[in-house]
Amino acid sequence: MARLNINGKIHNIDVEPDTPLLWAIREQIGLTGTKYGCGVAACGACTVHVDGVPTRSCSLPVSSFTEKQKIVTIEGLSKTVTHPIQKAWLELDVPQCGYCQSGQIMAAAALLVKHPEPTDAQINEEMTNICRCGTYNRIRAGVKLAAKNAKGAKSNNKAQRA
């Protein structure tokens, strides 16, 4: 049995405690946006946020989580595909096959929180998810575009408040 807080909802899951979070999300909760790519924390396809930290869900058992930890999957990143990263991805047509993109988007969204104006070196360091279609350059451009838009939105907000 595990109690997990996923996308703001508490789920009681009847599963062996050593089951990786990835498979509980996919098979017990039924959210399939989070992908299986390697199962050994090497590819990033399974990236979710745990209290905002990008986490490779294939390699952590459900027993290592409490219901206090907020787990967010790609389905919970925004209600209407409006996260700045998602908007930038749409504008630049980043995905090819798309299979890695849930993980890429979750990693990129966390990167923007850590580094609101990321340098190329920071992007290289934080964005270690694999994309076999080779969308890396558009991912890089997408991160920068999202950062720019988010900054613009912030200064707009400030201006309005002032």
């Binding site: 062996e16 089951t19 990786p20 498979w23 996919r26 098979e27 017990q28 039924g30 959210l31 399939t32 946006g33 989070t34 992908k35 299986y36 790519g37 390697c38 199962g39 050994v40 090497a42 590819c43 396809a45 999957t73 790609i74 389905e75 990143l77 925004s78 595909v81 998602q86 991805w89 749409l90 047509d93 980043v94 995905p95 090819q96 096959c97 798309g98 299979y99 890695c100 993109q101 849930s102 988007i105 992007i123 290289n124 360091e125 964005m127 270690t128 998810n129 694999i130 994309c131 076999r132 279609c133 080779g134 969308t135 890396y136 350059n137 558009r138 991912i139 890089r140």
Partner: protein, 723 residues
């Protein structure tokens, strides 16, 4: 008789389909009609719904390369559709069989998605437009010549009337198909040729796109599989006592004598239980094969007497004997794995009346042809429903082994849908690998440094011998010579060399080969383009000028080479420590060239600063997607160059997952400046071609930087410090 059948009788659609050849299925072909959706179609390619939604049928498959959007653009262009109303759907191979292959070939490989079907899909769109116009003209009782179309609206200018497509679609579908269908000149395109956004991006941003691995059915079970690690091996015995008692496990079985399968309620339980099964393998004859033994086998072929000839001109032996300077080198290319992000998987449901398969495949017809014998049912009782692919790169066209296995398992559990997912470990160790070859090149230079003779002896594995031996031509695999053939629309050797011999000593190790993005062009372009570079240096000439001298009769090859030379500033100074390398190649109907700029640190660390790439693919249907394919090709090709190698020990592939089979990541990806330079008049492919020039351009730049000539990959195996 339906319009579709009339169309097919008329011949242009069916004719095109037949001309593309492909799979022949030796079964009774039922004539029963099977419509894809519920709304009546205008013809096989176009459905217009009452709300004006235009559904464009796509026979080829989308696997990331943008073909879905590109083909829809071509049909919508001829249809004069309102692009904002366009959606797509896949017909099934069963429907294609039932309708005498009205949609032609489903195979999505060889960079043929667009170029292999542009003609008949455009005619399909144009025919549908004429029928919509006719239906409106009939309703208005005016001559069809007086009506025009634009963005999904038919207008009769004289009377000021107009109708949306959705209003006349039903009537149009009942009309006879037009006899004469003209298609537009690409210069008049307004939808095709434009950098439109893809139709399928949004669902890839919120997890809602369903891939084959995500497919669910009520009552579905999940299966995990472990296949013999040594090719040709068998299951000798297995002990499932522990696994059978584990939670959720429904069944443990052996299929094809060479694999153990566990079926459980969830996949993770199936996989965990499979790990608890004690399997003893009968390893068979290949248990002692190793990378070294394969290399020895290939090395022997480099000087073997017998070889298949691919390209021959003049008398190469005499030219080499009389050379002022002789240049000689041996190159090698190792096994590569496709590493699609989505591992192989399929779902099947079997009853004595019907066998259905849901899977991601590059060739649903071949998937069907695999499912039929596995099911034991006649073809009209089987079908394959295409799911989205998490990458293909040739793996999902080379073999549908995963479909066969899934059907065999489902057959053991009649009525129950079963999804079989390969673990990444099963996937990596049971690939259809990029074949391994070696090449010995001998070049003859005269006293002016001109190339007067070249012998390329390729030794190594044939893809056809491994996958489709029936397609060999008197034992010879023509595909081995990709990019090195004397002529042909697919790929042409781009240099004038008076005495030339390209031949192949076929040596087939037991590991199953496959079509791997770029296929044999990958190593052939390294062999040729790096060796041309070697000869240029031996002659003391600039590698660009040295090439140009031999390319007068190959203006299209030369044009892309000149483009990258100009755009990269070839001959002009680079930043300190940065060096350039150049290469060109032709394949899949397109001409490509690249310049790479690299530096190598004192410690031997390689940095690729910039790639400048040019592609002449004749016509461009969506420029921003062409750019994406060029970038993606470089990522795939450079990944192989930097890291890619499957090694063999004790008859087994040694790498099992992304932790041991490293691939390129963000930090390694260079900026790619891509220049599509379509010269018109032909249709070349885009999904693969630029991969050919990625590795040789970088290898030549490394030589410029270090004086080291690397004739083997991947680079991670070698010390790149200055010679």
């Amino acid at each position: 008789m339906t319009i579709a059948q009339k169309l097919s009788r008329r011949g242009f659609l069916a004719g095109a389909a037949v001309a593309t050849g492909g799979l022949s299925i030796g079964f009774h072909i039922p004539t029963a009609e099977a419509a894809v959706g519920d709304t009546p179609e205008i013809n096989a390619w176009v459905v217009v719904k009452p709300d004006d939604t235009v559904v464009i049928r796509v026979a080829r498959v989308e696997m990331g390369q943008g073909t879905l959007t590109g083909l829809a653009q071509l049909v919508a262009e001829e249809l004069d559709a309102d692009w904002s109303k366009v959606t797509t759907e896949y017909p099934t191979p069963g429907q294609n069989v039932a309708r005498k292959r009205i949609w032609g070939d489903f195979q999505t490989a060889g960079s043929r998605g667009i170029r292999g079907s542009e003609d008949y899909v455009r005619k399909g769109g144009a025919a549908a437009r004429l029928m919509l116009m006719q239906a409106a003209a009939n309703q208005w009782k005016v001559p069809v010549g007086e009506v025009t179309t634009s963005k999904g609206v038919i207008t009769h200018k004289a009377s000021g009337r107009s109708l949306r497509y959705g209003k006349v679609a039903l009537a149009a579908g009942k009309l006879e198909a037009p006899k004469d269908v003209k298609i537009k000149d690409p210069k008049d395109w307004t939808i095709a040729g434009k950098p439109l956004p893809r139709l399928d991006t949004k669902m890839k941003l919120d997890g809602s796109q369903i891939y084959s691995i995500d497919f669910k059915m009520p009552g579905m079970l999940n299966a995990a599989i472990k296949e013999t690690p040594v090719p040709g091996g068998k299951v000798k015995s297995f002990d499932a006592a522990k696994a059978e008692k584990m939670r959720g496990v429904k069944k443990v079985l052996v299929i094809d004598g060479n694999a153990v399968v566990v079926v459980a309620d969830t996949w993770y339980r199936a996989k965990t239980a499979l790990d608890a099964v004690n399997i003893v393998w009968d390893e068979g004859a290949n248990a002692s094969v190793s990378t070294a033994s394969i290399k020895a086998m290939l090395t022997e072929g480099l000087d073997a007497k017998q070889a298949f000839v691919g390209n021959k001109k003049g008398d190469v032996e005499t030219a080499i004997a009389g050379a002022t300077k002789k240049v000689e080198a041996v190159y090698r290319y190792p096994y590569q794995h496709h590493m699609t992000m989505e591992p192989m998987n399929a779902t099947a449901q079997w009853t004595p009346e019907k066998c259905l398969v849901w899977t991601s495949t590059q060739n649903a017809e071949a998937a069907l042809a695999t499912a039929v014998p596995a099911s034991g049912l006649p073809i009209e009782k089987c079908d394959v429903i295409r799911m989205n692919l998490g990458g293909g790169f040739g793996r999902r066209s080379s073999s549908h082994d995963y479909v066969r296995q899934t059907v065999l398992v489902a057959k053991e559990m009649p009525g129950t849908p079963v999804k079989l997912i390969w673990s990444r470990e099963q996937d990596v160790t049971h690939g259809t690998y990029h074949p391994t070859t070696m090449c010995k090149l001998t070049g003859a230079l005269d006293d002016k440094g001109n190339v007067v003779g070249l012998h390329m002896r390729i030794s190594g594995q044939s893809i056809l011998a491994g996958l489709r031996p029936e397609a060999l031509v008197e034992g010879r695999d023509p595909g081995t010579f990709q990019g090195l053939n004397a002529q042909g629309p697919e790929g042409q050797f781009g240099y004038e060399i008076p005495n030339l011999l390209v031949d192949h000593a076929m040596r087939n190790p037991p590991f199953r080969p496959g079509f791997w993005r770029g296929v044999n062009n990958n190593q052939n372009s390294i062999y040729l383009e790096c060796f041309i570079d070697e000869m240029a240096h031996a002659a003391g000439q600039d590698p660009l000028e040295f090439r140009r001298k031999m390319m007068k009769n190959y203006p299209k090859h030369l044009a892309v080479l000149n483009t990258v030379a100009e755009k990269s500033g070839w001959g002009k100074p680079t930043a300190p420590g940065v060096f350039r390398g150049i290469s060109q190649h032709m394949g899949y109907g397109s001409y490509v060239a690249a310049v790479a700029e690299v530096s190598v640190s004192d410690k031997g660390a390689l940095k690729i600063h910039r790639i400048v790439a040019a592609t002449d693919c004749g016509h461009v249907v969506n420029p921003q997607q062409v750019a994406a394919q060029i970038e993606g090709s470089f990522a795939y090709g450079l990944s192989a160059l930097l890291y890619g190698e499957m090694t063999v020990k004790n008859g087994r592939m040694e790498q099992e997952n992304f932790d041991t089979y490293e691939v390129m990541k963000m930090a390694d990806m260079p900026p790619v400046e891509s220049y599509p330079v379509p010269s018109g008049g032909f249709w070349g492919g885009v999904g693969e071609p630029t991969i050919f020039v990625a590795a040789p351009a970088v290898l030549n730049a490394i030589f410029a930087a270090t004086g080291k000539r690397l004739r083997d990959v991947p680079l991670k195996n070698f010390d790149l410090r200055k010679a």
